[in-house]
């Protein structure tokens, strides 16, 4: 039974300090498929945190992380070892999340619900004191989450990476495979799109 549980991430780090990603991957390539579990235990906390930025329902999040690991396993031979494995796995993660956003967009029903009382309170507080840091950050996060739900997949991806995860344009370019000018253009458009969505949500009357 204990075999089924991954140990604490700190224990994993300690246990696998001597077995680098490269040596584990070499063993998997040599046929020890079971050792993929080490990679899963090592990277799944980070991948869950990443997937939670792009999906809300728990089953969606689990499906995204599973897809990432399946893709990693299927493409393991293409990892050449010239870049850290972590960067490689994050590139795959971002692409899977982007694909999930696109699928989600196709199945999405456009619904622009009313502002909740907490969100309205937050906006009123902002109108009264625009320079203050704001009360009830949870209401602000809920507002952002709802605005992000309405963004186009590329816009949501770029704003998540650029403004929520605070990554540089160069990093985003490496993660997405888009050129740096394209990242900048998409970021510009995404900000404009988010402003339009906020405007549609009726926040302008609080300004």
């Amino acid at each position: 039974m204990a075999r089924l549980l991954c140990p604490d991430p700190r224990e994993i780090v300690a246990a696998f300090m001597d077995s680098s990603d490269a040596s584990v991957i070499a063993a998997i390539r040599a046929g020890e498929t079971g050792r993929f579990e080490e990679l899963v235990c090592r990277y799944q906390p980070r991948l869950f945190a990443t997937a939670r930025r792009y999906a809300r329902r728990q089953d969606e999040i689990e499906d995204i992380v599973q897809q990432i690991f399946v893709k990693v396993f299927q493409n393991l031979d293409s990892w050449r070892g010239d870049a850290p494995f972590e960067h490689w796995i994050m590139r795959i993660a971002v692409r899977v999340c982007y694909d999930a956003l696109r699928v989600h967009q196709r199945n999405r029903e456009d619904s622009m619900t009313q502002l909740s009382p907490e969100e309205s309170d937050w906006l009123e507080h902002h109108a009264a004191a625009p320079d203050s840091s704001g009360i009830d950050a949870e209401a602000a996060r809920s507002l952002v989450a709802r605005a992000f739900e309405q963004l186009a997949p590329a816009s949501r991806l770029i704003l998540t990476l650029l403004e929520l995860e605070d990554r540089s344009v160069k990093e985003i370019s490496a993660l997405t495979g888009w050129s740096m000018p394209l990242v900048k253009v998409r970021a510009f458009r995404a900000r404009a799109e988010m402003r339009r969505i906020l405007s549609r949500m009726g926040v302008e009357k609080y300004l």
């Binding site: 991954c6 993929f36 990443t50 689990e62 704001g134 602000a140 952002v144």
Partner: protein, 112 residues
């Protein structure tokens, strides 16, 4: 401008939220099961998608070239003729341009 200020404030609030790294119980077992039960990857799949893209690009180029070709005037002869004459003039200038004395020699009648 005010809307952009509000947007930035909202994003700042959202940025402070750290995403949970919590993993469901025995999730790694689910991954290993998925890997073992996944069908083997088709090695020709990247080629197939690449060839489809190439085929679509070729069709687009063929359509564009065809449209351009059929949009041309039917009697291009005068333009070609002018071009030939212009080319001949240019050739003469290029070959004989550096030889002014040749022109004079040709212009003078032969001395008896």
């Amino acid at each position: 401008m005010k809307l952009e200020g509000l947007r930035q404030k909202l994003v700042r609030a959202a940025r402070q939220q750290t995403m949970s790294e919590q993993v469901p119980y025995a999730f790694e077992q689910r991954i290993l099961h998925a890997i073992r039960s996944a069908p083997p990857r088709d090695p020709f799949l990247p080629w197939v998608s690449g060839l489809w893209r190439a085929a679509l690009c070729s069709l687009a180029i063929a359509a564009a070239t065809g449209t351009w070709h059929w949009g041309q005037p039917n009697d291009p002869a005068p333009a070609t003729e002018t071009l030939v004459i212009a080319d001949a003039d240019l050739l003469e200038v290029a070959v004989l341009g550096d030889l002014p004395e040749l022109e004079e020699a040709l212009a003078e009648p032969p001395s008896p």
